[in-house]
Structure formats: structure tokens, C-alpha cells
């Protein structure tokens, strides 16, 4: 029974357990409950992945109303893989979430925070598995609202978390409203909200309405994807949120936005790269390249490790957009490889940063002095992640960059080739700031050697190992990505 209903349980489990977790009074028990639920959700997502691996598309009719009358959950390989990413990320973060909240959030508030965390997970998974465009909006709001609150919880250590959350709320709500306007235009000319149905009916619909509707949806999604020039919310959100929450967001939030872009451009709107017969694909490489450059350059100038990583994420999102813009099965596959690999690399770095923050109380660059001495493992993991961001061979980051550059080479797109290669250099500059700060800078007073708190070891270590592992044995990731892309474009894998 669970296997047949995994499609809906993967969302409903965290969604309905959140209210219960919120009622638990003991923070330790609530934290453990959140971990267990996230882990169970990961099991369900894995189940879905197994079910869709052979190309099956699961269509689950909620309330047993056939689409387009009712809401449909439509799970293909991409949705299942994304659900896995989200739930695994949540599980890993839940491992160190309670520890990283020490001293930042009062114990009495923690159960509710864990509940908000689960709601955020449920919202994101809900976006990923649904086949109904209005249902996307509803779950987008669940995840967004909980995200605003989670970010604001960083106010215990830095009051700027409040303004960061507020800025994100205004932008997020505006973006969501744009999304709803877009849905209105699409609905008025097609009469349906089911995405697959929408795709079919769009062919005969008036072009202008489709153009405007899809543009507004694009802007709404672009905001969530921190696409230039709508990226302003992201560095603050990542830098001031509680470190564990920042880790979760870095691994999931913008990735889901990229997912939506892929989904909207392909699943709903028949032609890859086109949203409603508008070729947004042509927009993506310039925007992506600009993000790649701007994100990297600003990262060099930041004074805080988490902010540095956030800007670096903007650069990496740019790389995903560039890949997506290159189009075709290979383009989508390259974007997906980047998406998953970056989630792993950045997740590992943010988790390690959270561990550093837990020991040091700060992630400012000068606080890193002496890190290689008193937290060698943490330093090693940071350097490993950094090398992956640069794109050094034998790390997952090299594979990510290589697929994009190779594709650009084959298409003779020299601008992309040059841009991506050049940003590697800027990446070296900001990663080496971490290395010099952690290895060469002399701390004011030597600290006793106290490495990662045990809670961080498993998540940071696993993500670090995956960073290496996927760099050497990249075949599973590449196969998965190209299978997904082939399924989306409708060619046989």
C-alpha cells in the first residue's frame, strides 16, 4: 500500500507530521522526530526513484478525480530524482540542525522551528511532484512562508536575519503574485490547470496571451532562482539564516526554482527551452554568464564565508542556466548534472561552515585564522569543496564544468567556453582566500584542537565523500541526467 501511494505520501508525511512536531514540548524529542520523518521521507523518495527508473511516469489522481478535473501528481524520473535530492538534503541537515541552533534559538522555540523545517520540505517536494500548475503555487507558498520564518530565526545571532527575511518575503510574495498572474493568462486561453493538458491546448491558443502569461511565470520563477537582476535576496538570506537552515536552502531552494524552469520549459510547453512558444532559452546564456561573472567577482570581495558561498552559488546557478540555454537533451542533462553536483558540493561546504560557526561563533574571514590547526578536518572539507567549485579534476565540480564546456565546444559557442573557463580563475581567487585565511593567517591566540562537533561529521563527511566520489565515478550521475533529459524531450534513452 505504501509503495502504491508513495507519490502522495512523500508530501503528506512531512506535511501532516509538522503540526504534531510543533506540539511537542521537548526540543530534543522534536528534533529527533524531525530527523526520523525526514529520513522516512527519503525512503519514500527513493522508492519513487526505483519505480520511475525504467521510464515509468507515475500519475496519481488525488481524490481519484481524473485530470484535468482534479489535481494530478505526475512523477517522472526528474521529479523522483528531485524528491530524492530534497529529502536527502533534509535528512542530512536534520542531523545537525539541533546542534547548530544552540545559542541561536531558544529551546522553547525549537519544536516549532523543526515543524517549519518539515513544512518547508513538504512544500518543496510538493512543487516537484505535482502536475497541476495552481497546486505548484499552493506548495510554493507553503515552502516560501516557512522559509521566511526559518531565515528570520537567525536573529538570535544576527538581527540582520530579520531584514533579510523581510526582503525575501516582499520579493517572494511579489514573485508568487507574478506566477499567479501568469497562470491566469494561461488559464483564460486554455481552460485548464493541468500542466500536461495545458501543453497540448496551448498549441491552438492566442499567442499574445501565452507570451505574456509565460513571461510572468518566468519572472516569478526567475526570482526564486535568484536570477540576475533579481538575486539580491539570496546572499543575505544564506548569510544570516541559522547555519543549518542556510545549508538546507543552499541545497534545495534555488534548485527547485531551476527545476521549475526545466519543467515549465519542457513538460508544459512542448518544445525544450521554449516557454509557450517564446524562446526563453535564448535569454538564459546571457543571464547565466552575467550571473557567473558577477557572482564570482563579488564573492572575491566578501568578508564573510557564508556570504562568499552565497555569491558563489549565484555563479553556479548561472552555470546551470547557461547549460539549460544550450538546449537539447545534452543541455538539460548538463544543467541537471550541475544542479545535483552543486547541491552536493555546496551542501558539504555549508554544512562544514555551520560546524565552524558552531565552534567559532562567527564565519567572518578573520575568524577562520588557524582553522587548519585546530579544525583540520573542517578545513580539509572546505578546501575540497572549494577545489570542486574551481573545477579541479577528480571532484564533482570538474565533471559539472566539463559537461558544459564540452557541449559549448561542440556547438562552437565560444562565448560560453570563454566565460566558463575564465570564471574558473575568479573562483580560484575567492577559494584561495579561504585557504589563506584558514591555513596561513595567524590566529590571535592558539585554540585547542577541537574539530567538528560529532553531529556534523556524518553530513559534512558524506557530502565531501560524494564530492570526490562523483568526480571520479561520475557515470551514475551522468546516466541519470541524460536519462531524465531524454525522457523530458521524449526521445528514447
Amino acid at each position: 500500500m505504501i509503495a502504491q501511494n508513495a507519490a502522495v505520501l512523500v508530501v503528506v508525511l512531512p506535511l501532516l507530521s509538522a503540526p504534531l512536531v510543533a506540539l511537542i514540548r521537548n526540543p530534543a524529542i522534536a528534533g529527533a522526530a524531525a530527523l526520523v520523518i525526514a529520513a522516512l521521507d527519503a525512503v519514500l523518495a527513493t522508492l519513487l526513484l526505483c519505480q520511475t527508473l525504467d521510464g515509468t511516469v507515475i500519475s496519481y489522481h488525488l481524490g481519484n478525480w481524473a485530470p484535468p478535473i482534479g489535481i494530478e501528481y505526475r512523477i517522472d524520473l526528474l521529479a523522483a530524482a528531485m524528491a530524492c535530492l530534497l529529502s536527502y538534503a533534509a535528512t542530512l541537515v536534520a542531523l545537525f540542525l539541533p546542534v547548530s541552533l544552540q545559542g541561536a534559538v531558544s529551546p522553547g522555540d525549537r519544536p516549532r522551528l523543526f515543524a517549519a523545517f518539515l513544512l518547508c520540505l513538504a512544500g518543496l517536494v510538493g512543487i516537484v511532484v505535482t502536475g497541476d500548475i495552481f497546486n505548484v503555487f499552493v506548495f510554493l507558498e507553503i515552502s516560501s512562508l516557512s522559509t521566511y520564518v526559518l531565515i528570520a530565526m537567525g536573529a538570535g545571532t544576527d538581527r540582520r536575519a530579520l531584514t533579510a527575511a523581510f526582503d525575501y518575503l516582499i520579493l517572494g510574495a511579489t514573485g508568487a503574485t507574478f506566477f499567479v498572474i501568469g497562470i491566469a493568462f494561461l488559464y483564460v486561453v486554455t481552460g485548464t490547470l493541468n500542466m500536461a493538458d495545458l501543453g497540448e491546448r496551448m498549441a491552438t491558443a492566442p499567442k499574445r496571451a501565452i507570451l505574456v502569461g509565460s513571461s510572468f511565470i518566468f519572472v516569478g520563477v526567475a526570482l526564486k532562482a535568484a536570477m540576475l537582476p533579481l538575486h539580491r535576496w539570496m546572499p543575505n538570506a544564506y548569510a544570516y539564516a541559522p547555519a543549518a537552515i542556510g545549508t538546507f536552502l543552499a541545497m534545495t531552494a534555488t534548485k527547485v526554482a531551476i527545476y521549475m524552469l526545466i519543467r515549465m520549459s519542457d513538460f508544459v510547453f512542448d518544445t525544450p527551452g521554449e516557454i509557450g512558444r517564446v524562446n526563453f532559452a535564448a535569454l538564459l546564456p546571457p543571464i547565466g554568464l552575467a550571473m557567473l561573472l558577477a557572482g564570482s567577482v563579488i564573492a572575491v570581495t566578501t568578508k564573510d564565508l557564508r556570504r562568499l558561498l552565497a555569491y558563489s552559488s549565484i555563479a553556479n546557478l548561472g552555470l546551470m542556466l547557461v547549460a539549460l540555454g544550450l538546449g537539447g537533451v545534452a543541455g538539460i542533462a548538463a544543467a541537471l548534472v550541475n544542479l545535483f553536483n552543486h547541491a552536493i558540493i555546496k551542501g558539504g561546504m555549508f554544512a562544514t561552515t555551520a560546524a565552524v560557526l558552531h565552534r567559532r561563533g562567527s564565519t567572518r574571514m578573520e575568524a577562520l585564522a588557524g582553522l587548519s590547526k585546530d579544525m583540520p578536518v573542517a578545513f580539509g572539507l572546505l578546501v575540497l569543496g572549494g577545489l570542486a567549485l574551481i573545477g579541479v579534476p577528480l571532484t564533482a565540480g570538474f565533471v559539472s564544468k566539463l559537461v558544459v564546456i564540452k557541449l559549448a565546444f561542440d556547438q562552437a559557442n565560444w562565448l560560453v567556453v570563454g566565460g566558463v573557463l575564465l570564471t574558473s580563475l575568479i573562483t580560484v581567487a575567492y577559494i584561495w582566500r579561504i585557504v589563506e585565511a584558514g591555513m596561513l593567517a595567524v590566529p590571535e591566540k592558539p585554540r585547542p584542537r577541537r574539530d567538528l562537533h560529532p553531529a556534523f561529521i556524518l553530513p559534512a563527511g558524506l557530502l565531501g565523500a560524494a564530492t570526490l566520489g562523483l568526480g571520479i565515478w561520475s557515470e551514475p550521475m551522468l546516466t541519470l541526467a541524460s536519462r531524465i533529459a531524454a525522457q523530458m524531450i521524449g526521445t528514447a534513452p
Partner: protein
């Protein structure tokens, strides 16, 4: 052991040694014993490989696939084995010297030093045995990264700045032009495997090939072709054994080795020879002369030697650019001969520093009297680098002249002659000042150092033996050069031996 096992051993042995060194950090003697044992083991392994090499049965070992078509694989071939032999053979001597030098200097962080040294050797072995450009690139990057802690070793402000420069040059060149050139090759040829006769002939026009060759020449920043040579003098902030490693054993040699390998197995020697390499000939020749001239102006001994390296390595690039079997043979021999000659010089400069705390040409007048054996070996090394018989260094210069005249490049012949004079011009003053110079007014600088208790004139035996051995090596190589040529001849299509 089979050839395949030996190849893996050659890479994994230093890797394992690095781990053991890190574990043995508490006991310096044990730690150094591990280094020396690993060096001996590696030398033995590589010797076995060379002795048992047979082109017909050389196996290919596939390690991993990063992308379809971008695979990691190993394959032994003569040029790589020569490089591996040089690196493995000199590691032991360099380690001995390191022990003497580092202990005398009371250097901190010695465990990191030896561990990174072993890692660098592992990377060098992987470069030597890379079966395709992908593998070579991966190992090349690894070598850059593991040598960074060595360069930054003293962690002074100057060291940090120098190391930053080192890293910036090497990563920038490798991540942009080198990787770009590799991908271009991959895109054009559909493969990256090292294949006899090259893989690019007919795939790209000669104009594109010229550009591609230049991309490679500058992409392989370790070859220090001017004007991208700046990292080499900057990296002189490192402890002297590291400088020796950088200039003689692993890093720059890995660079020119990569160029040789690309010339022989990616472009094909005759493809370059038919005109693709002409632009590079001019650049390399100019690089030889310019670097030699700059070397003459440097007062700091190590800086002088660094520019000397730039000049000498440009000769290998020149050999690549000329593009005939004879020239490539000269390049390979230059790789070997320069390694022995230059390591002798660096050992000498470091020993002078250990014994007298002097680093500059203007300070060393008259110290030769206290260090006769050292200065004798220094002289041998200097003459070998300059290319005078009866020393190994004569062979590559001679072959290069032959190759240049075979292609009627008379201007180049003039350049090479001039470079020999210039080489003598910047190396001879060191020897002459040290042996015949009169200690002058600058002497007081040395006095305070005497308080340290390891002052003037005292040279640890471990810092003396290695230069003497390598100097003898220069002599031996004069005789052994034909054997090396015979070993590599089939790979580069060298017919009649001169």
C-alpha cells in the same frame, strides 16, 4: 610483477608514503626513513619498468571514466619512462639533501613538507605514465596543488605572496588555455589518447593547428615559456630543496615533458615540422635569449638560477617547435641533462646558504675556500648546463644544432651559440666570485649568524653528498646519453643515431 603492476606501484608507492609520513610525524627519524625507503623503492620500481619495457606488450590500464571519452588511463612509453626515471632517481638524493637542509635550518612543518613532497612525486609519476591527455591534465593539476604547501612553506608574507603568484600562474594557464586546448583537441579529434603519429593530422587546418600549439605551449604554464614565466622566480621563496624539486625534478620538467608528449603523440612530429611550429620557434628562441640576459642581472643566487631554468626549458620548447625526430631527441636529452645539472646548482646554492647564510652573488666572495668539494661540483653542474663536453649537457645542445641546421635555421644556430655564451656569462661569475673573490666589506652581514651555532663553514654531510653525486651523474650521462637515445628512438621515429 607485471608492467601494469609496476606502473600502479610507481604511483601508489609515494602516495602510501605520504600517508605514512603524516602518521609518523611525531618521530622525525622514522618519518625521514619512510621517505628514503619510498624513494629507494620508487627508483627500483621505475628501473624495473625501464629494464622490462617492450613497446609491443606495453599494457593500458583504465582507471576511471570522468565523461564518456574523457577517461583516466595509464600506458607506459619510452619518453614517459625517461621522465619517470629522472624524477624517481633524483627524489632520493633530494630527500637526503632535504634532511640535511631542513634540519640545519630548523624548519617548521617538516611533516607537511615531506608528505607533500611524496605526493608531488606520485603526481609526477602519474604524469609520466598518463595514457591520454585527460589523465595527464588531471595529474598536472594535482601536481600544482600539492606543491602549493611546499612553496608557501615558510608562511611569511613574502612566501604567501610568492605562492599566490605561483598558484595563480599555474592554475590560470591550466584552467583556461590548457583545458581549452584539450577540449578543442577532443572536439576535433574525438579522442584524447596518446597515439603514435598524432591524432590531429587532417582534423584541423594548419592555421588552427598553429593556434592550438600556442595554446598548449602557454597552457602548460609549468614549461615557463616567456612571458608566462613569472611564477618561477616568484616560487623561489620556497626552501631550497623545493626549488630543486620545482626546477629540476618534477614541476618544470613535468611542463616540458607534457609539451614533448603533446608534440609526439597528439600533433605528430612531422605535422609540427611542416610549419605549424614556426611561430613557436621564434617565441622559444626569444625566450632563451631574454631569460639568459635577465639571469645575468640577478644578484640573488636562486633568482639567477630560476631565470637560467626559464632559458634552458625554452630550449625544450624550441625542440618541440622545430619538429623533427632529432629535435625531439634533443628535447628529451635536455630534460634529463638539465635535471642533473640544475639540481647540482641548486644543491650548491642551498648548501652555500646553510653553511654561510649568504644568498647573494655580491656576498659570497671567497667562500669557496671553505667549501672546495661543493664548489667543484657546482662548476661541473654549471658547465653541464652550459653544454660543454665532456658533460651530459653537451648532447642536447649538439643535437639541437644539428636539427636546426637540418632545417636551415641559421639564425637559430646563432641564437644557440649565443645562449651558450650567455649561460657561461651568468653561471661563471658565481663560481669565480666564490673561489677567487676576496672577502670584502659586506662580510659583517655574516657575523651575526655565527651566533646560531651552525654558522660559517659548517656544512652537514647530508647537504654535501647529493651535489657531489649529481655532479658525477653529469659526467656519467655524457657516456650514457646514446643509451637513452636508443631507448627512445623507436617512439620518436629516430632513424640513424648521430
Amino acid at each position: 610483477m607485471t608492467t601494469a603492476d609496476l606502473m600502479l606501484t610507481a604511483i601508489l608507492l609515494p602516495l602510501a608514503a605520504a600517508l605514512l609520513i603524516a602518521l609518523a610525524g611525531r618521530s622525525p627519524n622514522l618519518r625521514e626513513a619512510v621517505t628514503l625507503a619510498a624513494a629507494a623503492g620508487l627508483a627500483f620500481t621505475v628501473w624495473q619498468l625501464i629494464a622490462g619495457f617492450d613497446a609491443g606488450t606495453a599494457p593500458t590500464i583504465a582507471l576511471a571514466q570522468i565523461l564518456p571519452g574523457f577517461t583516466l588511463m595509464l600506458r607506459a612509453e619510452p619518453i614517459g619512462l625517461v621522465f619517470a626515471g629522472v624524477a624517481a632517481g633524483l627524489w632520493g638524493l633530494n630527500s637526503l639533501y632535504s634532511i640535511g637542509y631542513m634540519r640545519a635550518e630548523h624548519a617548521p612543518r617538516q611533516t607537511r613538507f615531506y608528505a607533500c613532497f611524496a605526493l608531488a612525486l606520485s603526481a609526477a609519476m602519474a604524469i609520466a605514465m598518463a595514457g591520454n591527455l585527460a589523465t595527464l591534465f588531471v595529474a598536472y593539476e594535482a601536481l600544482t596543488l600539492v606543491t602549493y604547501p611546499l612553496v608557501v612553506h615558510w608562511q611569511t608574507e613574502g612566501a604567501i605572496a610568492g605562492a599566490r603568484r605561483y598558484l595563480a600562474y599555474l592554475l590560470a594557464t591550466s584552467l583556461v588555455p590548457f583545458l581549452g586546448a584539450i577540449l578543442w583537441t577532443w572536439s576535433a579529434a574525438g579522442t584524447l589518447d596518446f597515439t603514435a603519429g598524432g591524432i590531429l593530422d587532417g582534423k584541423l587546418g594548419d592555421g588552427a593547428l598553429t593556434v592550438l600549439l600556442l595554446l598548449f605551449a602557454y597552457g602548460v604554464g609549468k614549461a615557463a615559456l616567456m612571458p608566462l614565466h613569472g611564477w618561477l622566480p616568484a616560487a623561489m621563496v620556497a626552501p631550497t630543496p623545493v626549488s630543486a624539486l620545482l626546477h629540476a625534478v618534477a614541476v618544470v620538467k613535468a611542463g616540458v615533458f607534457t609539451l614533448l608528449k603533446i608534440a609526439v603523440y597528439i600533433f605528430g612530429i612531422d605535422v609540427i615540422g611542416r610549419g605549424v611550429g614556426d611561430v613557436l620557434i621564434v617565441i622559444a628562441a626569444a625566450s632563451v635569449i631574454a631569460a639568459s640576459v635577465i639571469a645575468m642581472t640577478r644578484d640573488d643566487l636562486k633568482a639567477r638560477l630560476a631565470y637560467s631554468t626559464v632559458a634552458q626549458l625554452a630550449m625544450v620548447t624550441l625542440a618541440v617547435a622545430i619538429g623533427s625526430p632529432l629535435a625531439i631527441a634533443a628535447g628529451i636529452l635536455q630534460l634529463v641533462m638539465h635535471a642533473f645539472g640544475k639540481i647540482t646548482l641548486f644543491f650548491g646554492a642551498g648548501a652555500i646558504q646553510v653553511a654561510t647564510h649568504k644568498k647573494k652573488l655580491s656576498e659570497i666572495a671567497g667562500i669557496g675556500a671553505k667549501l672546495p668539494l661543493l664548489m667543484a661540483s657546482f662548476l661541473v653542474g654549471a658547465l653541464s648546463v652550459a653544454g660543454l663536453p665532456p658533460l651530459g649537457g653537451m648532447w642536447p645542445k649538439f643535437l639541437l644544432l644539428e636539427a636546426a641546421s637540418a632545417r636551415d635555421l641559421y639564425l637559430l644556430i646563432g641564437c644557440l651559440g649565443l645562449s651558450t655564451l650567455l649561460t657561461l656569462g651568468y653561471l661563471a661569475p658565481i663560481f669565480i666570485t666564490a673561489v677567487f673573490g676576496k672577502p670584502g666589506a659586506e662580510d659583517p652581514h655574516a657575523l651575526p649568524h655565527d651566533d646560531h651555532g651552525h654558522g660559517s663553514g659548517h656544512l652537514p654531510l647530508l647537504a654535501l653528498i647529493p651535489p657531489v653525486v649529481t655532479a658525477l651523474g653529469c659526467l656519467v650521462l655524457f657516456v650514457a646519453a646514446p643509451a637513452i637515445l636508443r631507448f627512445v628512438a623507436p617512439a620518436i621515429g629516430l632513424g640513424v643515431l648521430p
